[in-house]
Subunit: 731 residues, 2 copies
């Protein structure tokens, strides 16, 4: 609804009336100037749902003036029966014997672009494919198909279908086939009441105690193959009495992990506020505000009587009251993101990465490019802390009055930590040696990327006054090279080889490669790192990971798995995926700036820990079982992965949520997905079983989940990434 | 090179100098106002190629000022050695014994965005992977890989590599693997001389008589798997003496079917024009202008001596002369498209469809939507001619003084031809009956699309004064329905069931379905239609068809072949392609507004003809062999498909190029692709063998090509679309 067309004739978007400003001034909103109120209002799209109270003669042929009229009351779109009101509002009882009225909403009364932009097509209310009356169910199926066809014919971009029952397998089967096999894409809003009593098939029996509306939706979405939340969304229809699951935060929160398209609000929910204004009750307000995550959401007003016919003002008041309900949330979002942003975050424009899947870097097997180095180097926070760690080590070593310290920077990239090391020397000397007997740092930078070597040499001349010895080598060859060239042994080794899940860029293997060259007293910065996981729920992320596909021109780009591209008989390169593309997608670790998700446990738990130097050459294979108690019904999508890093003594870096280093943006969380979403229940235990395996060529994780039901039943999900077939970190 | 960045500091884009205007006024260009000259100049991007004449001390560390300097002479980018000038310009003879200088062009001297925008990375001139000196070839391979890696490291968007030899299999093998298997995309310009003598390995022997530069390029491109022309392009380096293949239009034309990235012009080509200005010789001008198809092409100046060092003006003159050379072409393109555009073309915005693949409509098995009808209805030309045909038939029938004529519009859509039929009645009566004994048209509209029926009913009330009888039915059921309802037999049947290749929307099958209901005298409009083909060359189209891939959310959208989507064990729908995606892509007919292509024969030839009414019920299966004589070496991509349509007597519609109905835009050409491009030679004959096959469920084409060499050898391409596996027109 963004681009202005000649539709503006139908829905005039004039400047908001004067009363507006006063209303908002009277409310408790932290809103700003009148202009920002207008701007916020215009970002919030409110629609009108046509009901039998709207019906006037010939309405199905008067859609244009009807829309114009609604536009004057500030409704941005209409949810209108796609077959016309005559057909939509006939009584179902009469239908099993008779044919329903035919679809009769002529297309040519509106330009095609107006249908697209201003009309949400509502499926006729009497249609009920899951009716116990089988003849009526069949009649409903036929007519649902006709209406879906007509939605396509009109070129509508969104439609609404009511979910009437606890179980709707026939409705789901029709929609499932439709959305997957039709070449016309539109968004389906599945209208779900927020009150179980409104669902047919619910009888309040004991065995339905655990039934909730989230489950009804989640089951329906699953029956539709978990189709993309871009095209299959829930429209929550708010009831007067909200059940527990729509008031208790930990249950409400689950909807943040689902795709919501709209909120439908009935007109009798409104009450009169302190200043005489039309407002929603506080429970509804708080529900709306907690789930209002973006201005791409929609609000829909459904009148429950015909008062609006005689009182045009009330129509306007409703639409504005809906805007007011969520407008402040929007302000809050903007304010929050403004407050928490750092210079680094600003530079990296992290917002653009929200929920975007990234493959973890494999800097060991693939050389980073200049742009990637440049991006990382913007994160000053990280380098400042590295500098502090080096200062700490210099202070401890220098306490014996020594004149020099040999420092090796292992994997120096373009050298930003090299600069910090030399600065640490300066700080140490000015603080502890006061100009006498200065401590000299002899700095070696080891780097395997021949391209970065060009930069290091340039930096050495230009910035470091040729003080640095640059060694072009994989650090694992350093012991041999040092022997050959007679290089000094290090007092300190510094490296930054960590990934979002700690060891996943093979820091343990790289650092073990230099052990033979160390003194017994050599300090490693970092000294120790630990990975952490938390179970997460996110339908969006599940769908996004599953839906990745490979364009033709990328067909030979190496997978992240063990197999490599091959030359086929036609002389073209190709990467094969014997495990199938979907399994390949699901069996990888991703890096994601998580947004549309919720954690399903209050805190993370540790997984793997590594310490350096590893003088005992203990194995880098690991096996961990991490158990979580589940406190609500939910769909487990997988696990968020994090790490913390002890650089030196108490100098730490962390992306673990409870200890996250403020302002540091170098690492987004890792995600360890399950192949399918796993339905978990209150009082279930889940155990992530994850192995870190190593062979001559590389390292990989294998994982699966054990679900322990209160009944004692145990469910095991399939082992993912066996033998590193889909995700293999090459050495 | 489009977005303005802070790079403007380096390359100032000031207003073009005054001298500019006078120069263009003095030339023979049809250019317009000074402002339009400036605008045209700024659209044409000219680069400078760094040569040994540029080399100054420390140039590899002075890229920023060097670029600024070039910007002042109006060069938009630089083709600079990616390893630096020291490395690039060393002598190859010295290299086989010694190591070449290392890459030493530090990245941090320019912001990353400037490398991307302003630098084309040139591979070192001495690199020759196909050298007869095998040690040197191996050294070259290693160093080419290093330079490709460095192109990625710097984040360059384009690079240039010289094709030095008639055969370059080792160079091709390296590039082929690189472009297919690397995750970093940049455009490779393959620099090709326009003079065979400049290619090593050419010795002018008799057996090389047929060798030309186009073949050298086409072979190289094929060895690179015909990778996308977005990323693998030829850069033609113009020589002083242009051989025949760069002056004879039919040979030059072949480059229009290839992906050209740039033209490289050496400074000694310039001559002094009539008015003392710097210009290119006419042969070069004419070559450039005939191939200058878009302002995304680039021009690159290569100085052959150091005169520019002492005479800064000459540097500017060269860049402006290159702009002048092609600037007028641009004006011509704009003018042409302006002249040929019609209101319909304007409405449909046909330019946007250039070279875009469309699947032919299957209106019989899939109902069209309102937007598609609306688009077609914009093409007034087509409906006007249909009206003329109906007028002609009414005149002939009405000559006996009859009072009524029964007309059936078969497949009426939303009824635009219905309106033309009623208007034809009015015109006939006012012309031939002068108000006395008016002829009455009894109009029936038969339409199977239930959604369009809603529109037809609305139109009948609103526009046609309820004069039309609307029959909701597939026309093939009309004989039965007419019998049941006692409908009158038609005097005229009118239909518009044609596709871009004539019968490919199953007009023959549909119209045969009503034959039982006709009178012996019934007139069919159309009476007859014929399809045509012409062999075409287009690497771009071949690549585009091959490269289509299916996103995950479209995995269950029905193929155009015989198989239909299935429900898999997980409850998700999926369309399977046992023949493989590439074969599926190649074995279909497409509809394409052809742009980057050339026909390989001077005229089309007919394929299949159908006449109506088909009272003898003769079969609609067909088998045709269409032969063409090839007059030049080329790559045959497939065939352009067209049709013409005899509506009534001499009232025709046509998209066959030589008889194309002016201003009609309803149909773009069809394309019948081959699986692989077929190299054809002068004096070859090629035969398209194409069958139209019919079974109970639908219709399909099968085709292949027979190539007859002058030697008598015959090559057969594989049979495409056997049994309709990839393209099946459902009935």
């Amino acid at each position: 609804m963004s681009s202005r067309t000649y539709a503006d004739d139908l829905f005039p978007l004039e400047v908001i009336e004067q009363g507006e400003e006063q209303l908002s001034a009277g409310s408790s909103s932290p809103s700003g100037t009148p202009n920002s109120v207008d701007a916020a209002n215009s970002r919030i799209h409110v629609g009108w749902m046509t009901t039998p109270f709207d019906v006037e003669e010939n309405l199905d042929r008067q859609v244009a003036p009807y829309c114009t009229n609604l536009g004057e009351s500030k409704y941005n779109f209409v949810s209108f029966p796609v077959g016309g009101v005559v057909r939509a509002f006939c009584k179902p009882t009469a239908l099993s014997e008779h044919h329903p009225p035919v679809i009769d909403l002529p297309d040519v009364q509106l330009a095609n672009s107006l249908w697209e932009t201003y009309i949400n097509g509502k499926v006729s209310e009497w249609i009920d494919c899951d009716s116990e009356d089988l003849a009526f169910a069949t009649l409903s199926e036929e007519n649902l198909l006709k209406e879906l066809n007509y939605v396509c014919y009109l070129g509508l971009q969104t439609m609404t279908i009511e979910l009437k029952r606890v179980n709707s397998p026939r409705t789901a089967a029709i929609l499932n086939k439709w959305i997957w096999t039709r070449n016309s894409r539109f968004t389906v809003w599945v209208q779900l009441p927020t009150c179980l009593e409104k669902c047919m098939g619910f009888n309040g029996q004991t065995n339905e105690k655990s039934l909730d509306l989230w489950t009804i939706w989640a089951d329906f979405r699953k029956l539709c193959g978990n189709f993309s939340g871009m095209y299959l969304q829930v429209a929550l229809s708010l009831s007067a009495n909200l059940p527990n699951e729509f008031t208790e935060p930990k249950l409400v929160e689950r909807w943040k992990a689902e795709s919501i398209g709209a909120f439908i609000v009935e007109s009798d929910l409104f009450i009169t506020g302190k200043f005489g204004e039309t407002v929603l009750p506080s429970a509804h307000l708080s529900l709306l505000q907690s789930l209002w995550s973006s201005d791409s959401l929609r609000l829909v007003l459904r009148a429950v009587n015909d008062v609006f016919k005689y009182n045009k003002a009330v129509k306007f008041e409703w639409s504005q009251a809906l805007r007011h309900a969520v407008r402040d949330v929007l302000f809050k979002i903007q304010k929050c993101s403004g407050e928490s942003s750092t210079d680094s975050a600003h530079y990296l424009n992290v917002i653009e990465y929200k929920d975007v899947l990234q493959a973890p870097l494999q800097p060991l097997s693939e050389n980073l490019d200049s742009g990637v180095y440049n991006t990382f180097e913007q994160d000053q926070t990280k380098y400042v802390v590295y500098g502090e760690a080096v200062e700490g080590a210099l202070k401890d070593l220098g306490a014996d009055g020594r004149k020099s310290v040999v420092v090796y920077l292992l994997g120096g990239g373009r050298g930003p930590i090299g600069t910090k090391i030399l600065r640490a020397e300066k700080i140490y000397n000015s603080t502890f040696r006061k100009g006498r007997d200065p401590l000299k740092v002899k700095l070696y930078i080891v780097e395997k990327n021949p391209n970065a070597i060009v930069t290091l040499k340039y930096m050495n001349v230009r910035t470091w006054k040729r003080r640095v010895t640059i060694v072009e080598s994989d650090m694992r060859s350093l012991p041999r090279i040092a022997r050959d060239r007679g290089l000094e042994q290090p007092d300190i080794i510094v490296s930054e080889l960590l990934g979002s899940f700690g060891d996943n860029e093979l820091s343990p293997e790289c650092l073990d490669g230099v052990t033979d060259f160390l003194k017994p007293t050599t300090i490693s910065i970092p000294q120790k790192y630990t990975s952490y996981v938390v179970p997460i729920m996110s339908t969006h992320l599940h769908q996004t990971i599953k839906a990745q596909s490979i364009p033709f021109l990328s067909r030979a780009i190496p997978s992240h798995g063990r197999a490599e591209p091959e030359l086929d008989e036609d002389g073209m390169w190709i990467q094969k995926y014997p495990q199938g593309h979907v399994v390949n997608n699901m069996d990888q670790i991703y890096v994601v700036y998580l947004s549309k998700y919720i954690p399903l446990f209050s805190s993370t738990k540790p997984v793997f820990t590594f310490e350096h130097p590893n003088f005992t050459n203990s194995s880098n294979e690991r096996s961990a079982t991490v158990e979580f108690d589940i406190d609500r019904k939910a769909d487990l999508m997988g696990f968020g992965g994090y790490f913390d890093l002890q650089l030196y003594k108490n100098v730490m870096l962390s992306i673990e949520p409870s200890t996250h280093t403020p302002g540091m943006v170098s690492w987004f969380p890792a995600v360890i997905p399950l192949r399918d979403q796993l339905r978990v229940g209150e009082n279930d235990k889940i155990r992530l079983k994850i192995d870190r395996k190593v062979d001559a060529g590389g390292v990989w994780y294998e994982w699966h989940v054990e679900q322990l039901k209160p009944s004692g039943d145990v469910i095991n999900t399939p082992l993912q990434n066996p033998n590193g077939q889909s995700y293999y970190m090459r050495m």
